[in-house]
């Protein structure tokens, strides 16, 4: 390469997408600078509470309420413990704005590794129908890619990171390259048998997780030890995180430079050549701004943060982003809707308990509107995540009898929670607040995102169907619940810089390349045209690897200069 700069590429963000971008780019010979707004966390030594039981955690693991309300009033909708608090964003220090009448929980990480340190670890391929749904139904933008474009990259990623799961041959939930599944327990097997015979066509399958069931010695990673303490950081490297998987690979090339505490504010741009010419960031420790340059930029700051950076890249005195020729930047923001859950008791089998703690249990794949419109009053569908377990018996009274009683277990409880697909709406959008800025001088992101009738009808159906399935399968004391559905709480926020073939209606092309800048690739959740009902991270990984492959070919061909 003829580049005279110190780096061949800059990767903004170090999470699930940024980590993979850095690995792929460095392995292809590029010198990469990775920027992340968070503090540095090293694998193993950066997990102070790994392996610690409650009695060795600050405040026994329970974050004091005053601190939650002062500093983690958004993060609390995630999965906070004092053992993972450091990995979550401080909401007081890093504010954002929601429009009156709308709520959005922007649950963010605070460390290098991003959400890969605190994610739920579920891994699903999208189906062919997921990529076709927008076109078939005339909703949102058509995906410029199809399943076959992504399938080889799914395979590549799955084999590399290790995904446990069961082969099911379901057309609407394609199998991954699996390691053996996490086993079901005796109660789940019972529910599976009865549910599948009561509801032909519906399936109850093993969880699909990035928690490994086989070692990867070549990556210094061990299989899951069934501690279920993933979010403390896992020194076994048993699940996918940047720290355990992509960072070591990128570092092994000798071509990676990491700059933590680097808060990117905007991209510098040359409108004549339509190229990104620099990345401006503020050092969070010193407050000093710097500009770094490279011929290629991968923006992987997380869906909403990437949109914020793109929006804040604009000529002085104007409101219009360099990257918003289409007028769609910040629009079509989505999240899974998921505050609906159903629980029931599994009768019998009380001689059995669980040994070990699984990080995930079972999945009921989507069965609504599969292939055809079921006429159920909403489009798309939902799946359920869940599992069966036994809790210690509740205390009765006090004293020796209570203590003795708590040595026993309650009956098996089987619980599921629905994850529903949210449609892309043009007016579910984020924008930059005209006057409010954060402590780095960056305009705050403003959210105007709400769930609509389709999503709420879908959740009502998920509740009814969930209750029906559990009752007809023979569970007793079946109850269901629903809490307020607030976008962002699934932490699957997506959209805002969608892909498309037409530069007039999309921000990115089919290679994740900005229509307005050939040397800029955006490969995190912001690229999504629709969100399926399955967890998205595996798709971000696959699309990132695919984009890197294309970008490097273009770079070598001189097409990005």
């Amino acid at each position: 390469m003829a580049s005279t700069s110190k780096y061949d590429a800059i990767v903004i963000g170090s999470g699930i997408s940024g980590g993979f971008a850095a690995k792929q780019l460095t392995e292809k010979g590029l010198r990469v600078l990775m920027l992340d707004r968070g503090f540095m966390v090293e694998h193993q030594s950066g997990y102070p509470y790994d392996g610690k039981p409650a009695f060795e955690l600050p405040a026994r693991g329970d974050v004091p309420k005053a601190i939650v309300e002062s500093d983690y009033f958004i993060a609390k909708y995630g999965y906070l413990s004092t053992s993972n608090l450091q990995f979550y964003n401080d909401d007081r220090l890093n504010p954002y704005v929601t429009d009156e009448g709308s709520k959005f929980r922007w649950i963010r990480p605070a460390a290098v590794g991003g959400k890969s340190l605190i994610w739920g670890r579920w891994c699903f391929r999208w189906s062919a129908a997921d990529f076709e749904a927008n076109k078939r139904e005339g909703i949102g933008g058509d995906w410029p890619i199809r399943y076959d474009d992504v399938a080889p990259w799914y395979s590549y990623v799955e084999k590399y990171i290790g995904v446990s799961g069961s082969r099911e041959n379901l057309p609407y939930l394609p199998d991954s390259e699996f390691q053996p599944p996490m086993p079901m327990n005796v109660a789940e097997k019972w529910v599976k048998g009865r549910l599948e015979s009561a509801f032909p066509g519906r399936k109850l399958i093993n969880a699909r997780l990035s928690n490994m069931t086989e070692d990867k010695p070549e990556q210094n990673r061990s299989k899951c030890q069934f501690r279920d303490q993933c979010s403390n950081g896992c020194s076994f490297g048993a699940y996918f995180s940047t720290q355990a998987v992509t960072l070591p690979a990128a570092r092994a090339t000798g071509r990676l430079t990491i700059r933590s505490d680097a808060v990117v504010s905007n991209l510098e741009y040359d409108p004549k050549c339509k190229r990104v010419t620099g990345v401006r960031f503020v050092d969070a420790k010193t407050g000093q701004a710097e500009v770094v340059k490279a011929p290629l930029v991968f923006l992987c700051a997380s869906a909403m943060a990437s949109v914020q950076i793109l929006m804040n890249s604009r000529a002085p005195g104007t409101d219009k982003s360099y990257f918003d020729t289409s007028g769609t930047l910040g629009r079509y923001v989505m999240d899974h809707i998921f505050r609906t859950h159903i629980t029931g008791e599994v009768p019998g089998m009380t001689e059995y308990i669980e040994y070990g703690r699984r990080p995930g249990a079972i999945y009921i794949p989507r069965f609504r509107n599969v292939g055809t419109d079921d006429g159920v009053g909403f489009k798309r569908g939902y799946g359920y995540q869940g599992g069966a377990s036994r809790s210690p018996s509740k205390p009765v009274g006090f004293g020796a009898a209570m203590k003795e009683g708590m040595r026993r277990y309650d009956p098996w409880k089987f619980s599921i929670g629905a994850f529903g697909e949210c449609l892309p709406y043009e007016d579910n959008r984020v924008s930059l607040h005209p006057t409010r800025v954060d402590r780095f001088g960056i305009p705050q992101l403003r959210f105007d995102v709400t769930f609509r009738d389709n999503e709420l009808r879908m959740m009502a159906d998920a509740r009814t169907q969930g209750e029906m399935m559990l009752r007809q399968a023979g569970l007793v004391n079946v109850t269901s619940g629903e809490s307020e559905h607030v976008p962002g709480e699934a932490i699957h926020e997506m959209g805002g810089a969608r892909m498309g073939n037409d530069p007039r209606t999309s921000v990115l092309n089919k290679w994740n390349q900005a229509h307005d800048a050939a040397n800029l690739f955006v490969t995190d959740g912001s690229q999504m045209n629709s969100i399926s009902c399955v967890n998205p991270s595996l798709t971000f990984m696959a699309l990132t690897c695919r984009a890197v492959d294309h970008a490097v070919k273009q770079l070598h061909a001189g097409a990005l200069a």
Partner: protein, 189 residues
């Protein structure tokens, strides 16, 4: 007195704009240490009077007594409760505990003509039962909150997790059909 930093941070939120640098520093909003720190070590304020603490200690042992495994006192539950109420819980969460302890002290003198320090275990159990059954003012809110504190403190303690219950630091494997009779205990989460 309201902590000055808290007050300033609240004001900072009002502005929603970059703070004048000296104000930002005073409010603790700049620098890498500006995240709150969870208090550890001894309680930073005294929650209980000496008699209240003695009663709270005795009652914790009545809720989870020593049996074939150690009880609440050996497991450090009284220290946990005092630390929690001093530094981890909200200040108003002390109210039902303190009011209940005082009510139990008064009822002990009324019913048994002795202070709780001289009450028998049976008398303390009767007082706790009366609280549980809401037989005196401040009794039921005390019992609900206090039992929860004792149970949480006990089952998150080393003794509670490793002696009363069974803790598997690194299970290494998973069995979904393990016989309870192999252990006859509860595995900690």
């Amino acid at each position: 007195m309201i902590d000055r930093r808290t007050a300033l941070a609240g004001m900072a939120a009002l502005f929603g704009a970059p703070l004048f640098a000296p104000i930002a520093r005073a409010a603790g909003l700049v620098g890498k240490d500006s995240r709150p720190v969870i208090s550890e070590g001894p309680p930073s304020v005294q929650v209980f009077t000496a008699p209240q603490r003695a009663l709270m200690t005795q009652l914790s042992e009545r809720v989870i007594p020593t049996t074939d495994t150690p009880g609440a006192i050996k497991a450090g539950v009284p220290d946990y409760i005092e630390k929690l109420l001093a530094d981890w819980a909200l200040p108003q969460e002390r109210i039902p505990i303190l009011a209940g302890l005082d009510a139990i002290e008064a009822k002990c003198i009324q019913d048994y003509k002795v202070p709780t320090a001289q009450a028998t275990p049976e008398q303390l159990d009767a007082l706790l039962t009366a609280a549980m059954n809401a037989q005196f003012a401040d009794g039921a809110p005390f019992f609900v909150a206090f039992r929860q504190l004792v149970i949480t403190g006990y089952y998150t303690s080393e003794i509670g997790m490793t002696q009363e219950q069974e803790y598997l630091p690194v299970p290494g494997e998973y069995h979904g059909d393990y016989l309870y009779s192999n252990v006859n205990k509860v595995y900690t989460a």
